[in-house]
């Protein structure tokens, strides 16, 4: 950039570059860059150099903070799960009627998936590898139970009130909601191509949102 022509190796001039140190910022920048790179290219396709460049830093820092590519990937994955489960906790689906609670969970899940396609990509990548890295995670044992507990309560109340069928099962209900959201968002590109309809069109997105709520409730209504 400037005209100084140094030749000695690893010799750096810093007069013209105000070097601000900020470990937290650098670490966060690497994590965010890695999230995008892994989400866009998968584990096998992600490039360490690309992550460093996206983060505005270099590979040395990446290895310094995260060890290696695999550990960085695991951090990204864990952070993604923490993100959705944390947002989910603020829902309080038990505050209104059972039907409204289920509808609220369905809407939240759909909208979260739509807003965070990178989370879905990461799940896809992780499943491609049969949860090889997720299984090593020690942070994620407790994270998911809250959802099932709260969902169980709402369903039980609905059954007692006679609005839900007895067979309604919390895990099945969640999987139903997640299925309908995940598939539409994550497979929108091939689906739009083969069926000749743009699934990303706002009208179609709105229709699918209503569809998810309808299907979920129809499947458990007494």
């Amino acid at each position: 950039m400037d005209g100084s022509g140094e030749k000695k190796p690893a010799k750096r001039r810093s007069q013209d570059r105000v070097l601000q140190r900020d470990p937290e910022r650098t670490r966060a920048a690497i994590l965010e860059a890695a999230t995008r790179e892994f989400a866009e290219n998968g584990m096998g396709g992600a490039r360490v150099d690309a992550i460093a460049e996206r983060a505005g830093t270099n590979k040395r820092m990446l290895y310094h903070y995260f060890g290696d590519k695999e550990q960085l990937y695991l951090h990204v994955l864990e952070e993604a799960y923490v993100g959705i489960r944390t947002a989910e906790r603020e829902l309080h689906i038990g505050d209104r009627s059972p039907e409204e609670g289920i509808a609220e969970l369905a809407l939240f899940t759909w909208r979260y998936f739509h807003k965070h396609p990178e989370f879905l990509s990461l799940l896809g990548t992780e499943n491609l590898h049969r949860a090889r890295w997720l299984r090593q995670s020690v942070r994620l044992k407790e994270l998911h139970s809250h959802l099932i507990v709260e969902l169980t309560e709402v369903l039980d109340r609905g059954k007692k009130e006679g609005v839900f069928i007895e067979a309604a099962d919390p895990l099945s209900v969640y999987l139903t909601i997640a299925s309908l959201g995940y598939f539409y968002i994550s497979n929108q590109y091939t689906l739009s191509t083969i069926f000749g309809r743009d699934l990303a069109d706002p009208g179609n997105l709105d229709a699918w949102e209503r569809h998810i709520v309808h299907v979920t409730l129809a499947s458990i209504k007494a």
Copy 2:
């Protein structure tokens, strides 16, 4: 392997190897090996050397028959779509009652997904790349319309008979069926891990099969 210590380049001895030529077999072996490699590792993670080795041949043949890695991948993807759509054609979902027809399509789709997880992996990979290769395909324009046409007929008959709601839409019904199957199979590894339940267990698989039929019909029944 044998004790001859040749040094001249590209000198090959063949006396001890009965060399059978079979272009069709070689081509098919490459396609099958590539299907597995791409399904297991994605586009970015798949290795050309690995495909050649799996096919029991070498890279030269792979480039000879398919041009390059990307074209080979596209062939694999096209072949996978041809596979499911061909099997689908033999269903004749219009032969029985509308409810039975829909149930039959749901069962078929679920069982096909379960039997061909490599197809789901390929879809996942292709969507990761936003259908970059599928969109270049010229073979696949007509392939998918048959499904929608037949489904439309069954739904229309159901509406006329008063067993399906008027709002039942063919694409939505198919996406519902596909969603419930795709998500369960392709995300079974992360789901089993985070919820501490083995989704691949035969009992759970059977339950989900029944669940898909139940949800699909419940969502369109009048």
